[in-house]
Symmetry: C2
Subunit: 347 residues, 2 copies
DNA sequence: CTGTTAGCGCTTTCAG
DNA sequence: CTGAAAGCGCTAACAG
């Protein structure tokens, strides 16, 4: 049955034309007579002709394919992001390859390798937390495969990136709590080595200084992001004489764990102690003790913008120029928690 | 720079060999001398040679690519499922194309079309809720592109599918509540037309009969899955003389909305009234009023199994035979809610 | 063990 | 306006 898939040649033969004429007719080449053009198109339709893209890709050195490499889709942030990427890509006739690194450098490398071999036109990636060697990304230059990083960005010169300004986001969070009347503001930060943690800390310090408070190192504790790590951090807070009452947490899960801990210590969440976190997961409205507010990072939008940037690069002919890299900073937004269930189905 | 990407020909010329010899050497063809083989491989390495997959795909009529078409990744169920698909695919040298239908038949059609043109080796799909015409799927036969459906499966004969046995799952749910001592068991079901709803209803009826209770139509109400729809359903329950105390809900979100409503009516969740739902989202542990239990559907596993099935089909040479379609039913599991935060990061 | 030839399906000069 | 020919990079008979 598969042999019956019609090719351009078959059409040519049936019509007593040459393959090139058929090709041109199908592609609306200006120098083709209307008569033959319609003739060809009609037969193509009747035969159910479909161009063999693999042949076209091969020939044109262009696959209309872009690769997306990120840690894991089970994180809402990333599934939202790739959703944005895919939506925008498909609008522009591109199709998306998916690869999950699971925060493993080896896997990330293999995926990049595989995508390169598949000759993707470009790549969008949020790198693995554990990646320390970036050769697999640099290598892409040799193949003229542009790459746009988002969210988790490697320390390489002149790269294209889309990211949130977490420094500024954290300043917003601190200001919010201050305005609410909290004076002792703590930070439960993520692992030191994450750039994301560093940015939060920086924003925290700036905000503290700007408001003429003095930075108290006891008010900043790191968690490994596990429930236990967060509970430990809270325990430490409570063991100090100066216990923070307004706490900024690395993300929503940390906020939930922290709130749980505070609750067990008989604190009234939202009164004795309040939280502000990042991510703004669409589940906060169902939480027992949701954070007062979250710093929304717009993952869907980040994905969309990254795709947009990549398309721009792909479409600008002057590649291989002295490109210093494009950079977009997306403004975060502090949103009060009030999510809606939008009728999702889990059949 | 891109012109420097070395080809098999370049290697052949530099070594005074023929292209075919080089090709064979690179592919460990048995009939190649060790000397030349190592020679070729060495030079290939030095030159940084990488095969052009598009050429190979074109030539071999095989792309090592599979397409995944599903409603939307922002639903946890699907992001988990594709995660399973991708993991298993990459283990087997396949790469995954992603397409989101957003429950729109037109988009689904376009995606399938596009994937077919990209000559994917196979497709895995959970169809759009609004798809009524299945021609775009049937058409794939003509191109020898096998397809495996999971979760949401079209009413077509002889197809390959992986799905959960929701009838049996619902029976488990009812039995659980009965064992807990609840006698008035209600069902907040999804939209009528969904197969998923029909299966739940069937399971519900079977369980009621099996336990020698009599089926009371007042105890079954449908919701459009919105928060309001669910609240309305609950209001109706409460307006009856016989208000259910154990309620099975279409999914976790419905359970949460329903619980919220009950709470507002001053019911004590887990005592006055209890819920059992489906999906078992990894957020239940943070919920104010989580359902007592959830029917776990193992989306990651469903994805993995679907991919496994597809690989099996791809590898069995005897295609185009009188295949009646493969079917896998995955057993659901009733799990009590006690999820763990596993250290997720939302930087 | 290796070279020659042909060809996958399509596009694209270059002629006419 | 259309045809002939070449070729994208690689593999696979078919000969030697």
């Amino acid at each position: 049955m598969s042999d019956k898939v019609p090719t351009i040649k078959v059409i040519a033969k049936k019509l007593g034309l040459s393959a090139s004429t058929v090709s041109r007719a199908l592609n609306d080449h200006p120098s083709i007579g209307l008569k033959t053009k319609t003739l060809v198109k009609q037969l193509a339709k009747d035969l159910g002709y479909e161009p063999n893209q693999t042949a076209i890709f091969f020939q044109k050195r262009k696959t209309f394919t872009i690769g997306v490499v990120l840690p894991k889709l089970s994180e809402t942030f990333f599934s939202e992001a790739i959703s944005g990427i895919e939506d925008f890509a498909s609008m522009n006739k591109y199709i998306v390859f998916l690869g999950q690194s699971h925060d493993d450098e080896e896997r990330e490398k293999k995926i990049i390798e595989s995508m390169k071999n598949h000759r993707v036109d470009g790549i969008i990636s949020s790198i693995s937390k554990n990646t320390t060697n970036y050769a697999h990304f640099e290598m892409l230059k040799k193949y003229d495969i542009p790459i746009v990083f988002f969210d988790c960005i490697p320390p390489i010169e002149n790269i294209n990136s889309v990211e949130c300004d977490m420094v500024e986001g954290t300043i917003k969070a601190v200001s919010f709590l201050l305005k609410k009347g909290y004076r002792n503001i703590g930070l439960i930060n993520g692992p030191h080595k994450l750039l994301a943690s560093q940015q939060r800390l920086e924003g925290y310090r700036i905000a503290i200084n700007k408001n003429r408070l003095k930075f108290d190192p006891n008010l900043v504790i790191n968690t490994d992001l596990s429930t236990k790590g967060t509970h430990d951090a809270m325990a430490e807070f409570f063991s100090h004489k100066r216990t923070p009452t307004g706490i900024i947490t690395f993300n929503d899960y940390v906020a939930l764990d922290a709130a749980q801990f505070a609750f067990q210590r008989n604190k009234t969440i939202g009164k004795d102690i309040s939280f502000v976190s990042y991510a703004n997961l669409p589940i906060n409205s169902y939480m027992a003790y949701p954070p007062l507010a979250s710093i929304e990072q717009f993952p869907y939008d980040q994905g969309k913008r990254a795709m947009e940037m990549l398309l721009g690069i792909l479409e600008s002919e002057n590649k291989s120029d002295t490109n210093k890299g494009f950079r977009i900073k997306i403004e975060t937004e502090l949103v009060l928690n009030s999510h809606q269930n939008s009728g999702r189905i889990f059949s």
